[in-house]
């Protein structure tokens, strides 16, 4: 006879074992290890919640301290490898397999462990892709998540940093999994119910509030005139030309400079209301001057940002907020919004090759992708037109029936020709290919494939790849904006001039931009303190960003 309820029975057994360490659903922080050893089974798929922002750090410490004799060979399926504990578990044998998406600060260590064979890597995913697999073939047996507060029934307030939690809980709780939440405090009544209590099995009152990385704060004081020049070119040569209203920005200084130029340079160009009105974006502090100057209609967020909570509460017309007044973010929905409802993604990268493939993975660092490959791709499932999308489609169409033409999402790479420590951004071959060979990956970790990229902007100019008609033109267009890198110096001068005459390459002077005008005086805010002033004192920057 077929057993149809084996998973459900296993779940009941796990929960019963865990109850021994709980008072109802509530578990004291000191009993985390006991709880985890009772609930987990060797070989389990486990989602230890952590992304590029919030971290279930108390549960991570607990998991890392479990006895590898009892808990071993786990298969970690999680967005972020960010905390040291996320990798410690692979060193002790508690975990063996990994499917993940982002690993900023641990990028160097993860590379070493991949080379050393301590981690069996499934794949480096995009956020949306990993979320999708939670519902198909990577469904967690146990999810370890983080919230701000919970009541004794498990009703959870995830607050401004809701991020991945609803998705992780959905996949786990409705498929016979166990959900354990760490919260900063147990309360009688939560400010709002982000996750209903019947989806939460255990609540751990953490010893310290969960950690959040201020990943999206860019200090205007560190912005260079080169970045300002690139931002001016992007605004005039792309945002204005295509009339980009709905968009997503990456986290680099280049896009932060664009945000700070909207109320000054953008205003001078008369673009207010014409561009940058609707956003899929984290609450970047550098967007405050544009919001306060009336440029921005609304912003949906993947997560929150440290210090922005009071400002967001005071601007519910702009942000998505709950009945309690605080931000409601949701990574899965915002990624979907960025994919299907934005006409442009613009962001930075570490390496671009001769065809326009790009990656943030170098031989010594495996940083992962996060959302960039989704944001930075042309979604073939899109079926609604917009002026920007249709214009890009017309530019890119070479053959075929115009009546069947579809639009194109603009995917813009905004880079300086030389990156940090004067490492060239433009390369003949991506390091990612070498890495794939070394550790035997079937698929090279490319962040954005060349066929998705429409424009590359550097301090030397804009290359419009939509207008390139063959591979040779494309290569020369890229070389033509690659400056003094080896790739740039290897250009065919005559061909580059021809591309320039056709408007495929545009220099600052072709756009009517005087490079000497790229002055820091153009920034709507030149320091974090000026951002605080713009916010009317509502933005509360973390100590590491204050110089007062």
């Amino acid at each position: 006879m077929t057993e149809w309820r084996a998973e459900r029975q296993a779940r009941d057994a796990r929960i019963q074992a865990g109850r021994a360490h709980a008072d109802g659903k509530v578990v004291p922080a000191g009993s985390v290890i006991d709880l985890l050893e009772a609930v987990l089974r060797p070989g389990d798929r486990v989602c230890l919640e952590g992304d590029n922002q919030k971290q279930a750090d108390c549960l991570a410490r607990g998991l890392a301290a479990c006895d590898p004799g009892k808990i071993h060979d786990l298969h970690m399926v999680q967005s972020g490898i960010v905390l040291p504990e996320h990798l410690d578990v692979f060193e002790t044998g508690i975990a063996k397999r990994l499917d993940y998406s982002y690993s900023g600060p641990q990028g160097a260590r993860i590379a070493k462990m991949l080379y050393g064979g301590q981690i069996q890597l499934g794949a480096v995913h995009t956020y949306l892709e990993l979320f999708a697999r939670y519902f198909v073939d990577l469904t967690p047996h146990v999810a370890l998540i983080a919230g701000v507060s919970a009541d004794r029934d498990g009703n959870l307030y995830t607050g401004p940093n809701t991020e991945d939690t609803p998705t992780v809980v959905e996949a786990t709780a409705f498929k016979n999994g166990v959900v354990i939440a760490q919260v900063n405090q147990i309360v009688d009544t939560v400010p709002r119910v982000d996750i209903p209590g019947d989806r939460i099995d255990f609540v751990v009152e953490a010893d310290t509030p969960f950690y959040v990385e201020p990943l999206f704060t860019r200090d205007p004081a560190a912005m260079t005139e080169t970045q300002i020049l690139i931002a001016m070119m992007a605004i005039k040569g792309i945002y204005a030309e295509y009339g980009i209203r709905r968009l997503n920005h990456g986290i680099g200084f280049g896009t932060a400079a664009i945000e700070l130029l909207l109320p000054t340079y953008g205003e001078k160009l008369g673009l207010k209301g014409q561009i940058c009105t609707h956003w899929a974006l984290n609450p970047h502090p550098t967007l405050i001057p544009a919001i306060e100057s009336g440029w921005v209609k609304q912003v949906h967020c993947f997560g929150s940002e440290v210090g922005m909570d009071r400002y967001i509460r005071a601007r519910p017309d702009i942000f998505f907020t709950g009945a309690d007044g605080s931000l409601r973010s949701n990574r899965a929905f915002c990624q979907t919004a960025g994919l299907y409802a934005c006409d442009m993604f613009i962001g930075a990268t570490l390496q671009i090759d001769l065809m326009g493939h790009s990656s943030t993975i170098t031989q010594s660092r495996v940083a992962g992708f996060g959302g960039a490959p989704n944001m930075g791709s042309d979604p073939h499932g899109r079926r609604h037109p917009s002026d920007a999308w249709m214009k890009a489609g017309r530019e890119g169409q070479i053959v075929g029936d115009p009546a069947l033409m579809r639009g194109r999402k603009l995917v813009v790479q905004l880079v300086e020709t030389f990156g940090e420590k004067l490492v060239p951004t433009f390369v003949e071959t991506l390091d990612a290919l070498e890495l794939a060979k070394k550790i035997g990956l079937e698929l090279a970790p490319v962040m954005i494939y060349a066929d998705d990229v429409t424009h590359i902007v550097t301090e030397e100019g804009i290359a419009n790849l939509l207008l390139c008609r063959d591979a040779d033109e494309r290569e020369q267009a890229i070389r033509g904006v690659a400056g003094y890198t080896d790739v740039g110096r290897g250009r065919d001068r005559a061909k580059v001039e021809e591309l320039r005459a056709r408007g495929v390459i545009r220099r600052p002077e072709d756009l009517g931009i005087e490079p000497l005008d790229a002055d820091r005086a153009l920034l709507a805010a030149k320091s974090i303190k000026e951002l605080v002033h713009w916010s009317g004192g509502l933005y509360e920057p973390p100590a590491k960003f204050r110089n007062w």
Binding site: A221, G512, I513, E514, L516, D517, D519, R520, A521, L522, K526, S527, G537, A543, K544, F545, R546, N547, W548
Partner: protein, 309 residues
């Protein structure tokens, strides 16, 4: 669209923190009066940096010259914090020492030093250390000749290492909120004593401990300026007018002031503890205060103004 250039010489609009050394000097002086000695065209560059494959600057990171300030002649030196953190090398130091010695014969109304430095340039350690000592000696001679030496501190690199020592020998100092004065920098302290003692990445802590507001409240700086060139100009003019005499009484008063400061605040764990003992009502509010509110707070602190030096 080569339109109007951003205001890079308007003293009201120009941020001291943002400006280059040359922009500061030109905008600080009466319009059109700054004359540079040994300008970049003279190519007086470091003889040491090529040994380390490091780029040199035509002025070795310091601008020196003569200018008028409110009609009176002053000598001015301005460090360029963007070149090697404004660090003292051999040529850099020699230009400053030479300027100070010239003051003995030129008899200006004052010498202004626009500090923006992390201290001695490590690649030129001995020459740089010597330059610090020679500069302090030269300042003493200038002050003894009755010429005030005024330090202006509000640049990105702050005033650290030997720069902090030199600042201690000046007649008067003006600082802005962004300006920092200390000898050991935050990273140096953290490296030697650990992050528990001093977390250099906690920028609020760094500015609370070394920044212009703290220095003003404890009397380390004699004027507090908003971050504009015109505010520094006003402060410089004011401080020239009230520089203390350089005599035994002044030195003894300074010794007594420093001893009592150590006795009174030596056990404080944080700058806010110091401010509380100074009688500041709401010490936690000091960092966020604007210039006007801060000036009012300073006016109620007795120790902030003194004639020691």
């Amino acid at each position: 669209m080569a339109g109007v250039r951003p205001a890079s010489t308007d003293p009201d609009a120009l941020s001291w923190y943002e400006a280059t050394a040359r922009q500061r000097v030109v905008a600080l002086a009466d319009p059109g009066t700054f004359q540079e000695f040994l300008p970049p065209t003279e190519r007086r560059m470091s003889p040491h940096l090529p040994l380390f494959d490091l780029p040199r600057a035509f002025d070795d990171g310091i601008v020196v010259g003569r200018a008028a300030l409110d009609g009176k002649t002053v000598l001015v030196a301005a460090q360029e914090g963007r070149f090697m953190g404004g660090a003292f090398g051999e040529i850099h130091g020699a230009k400053l020492v030479g300027l100070l010695r010239a003051a003995l014969t030129l008899k200006p109304a004052a010498v202004l030093i626009l500090f923006d430095t992390g201290g001695v340039r490590l690649q030129e350690a001995n020459a740089g250390e010597t330059a610090i000592a020679e500069t302090m000696r030269a300042i003493i001679d200038v002050r003894a000749a009755g010429i005030p030496v005024i330090g202006l501190i509000g640049g990105r690199a702050g005033c650290y290492g030997g720069g902090g020592l030199i600042a201690g020998t000046c007649s008067r100092l003006a600082a802005s909120e962004g300006g920092r004065i200390s000898v050991s920098g935050p990273e140096v302290i953290e490296t030697n004593k650990g992050a528990e003692e001093f977390d250099s990445r906690d920028r609020a802590l760094v500015w609370r401990t070394m920044g212009g507001k703290h220095r003003r409240l404890i009397g380390g700086a004699d004027a507090f300026c908003a971050d504009s060139v015109s505010a520094f100009r006003k402060a410089a003019l004011d401080l020239i007018g009230r520089a203390p005499a350089f005599d035994l009484a002044t030195l003894e008063a300074e010794q007594a002031r420093l001893e009592s400061r150590l006795a009174r605040f030596g056990d404080c764990r944080d700058a806010t503890d110091v401010w509380a003992r100074l009688g500041v009502n709401d010490p936690e509010a000091v960092p966020a205060m604007d210039t006007r509110a801060f000036d009012e707070t300073v006016s109620r602190v007795r120790e902030a103004d003194h004639d020691a030096r």
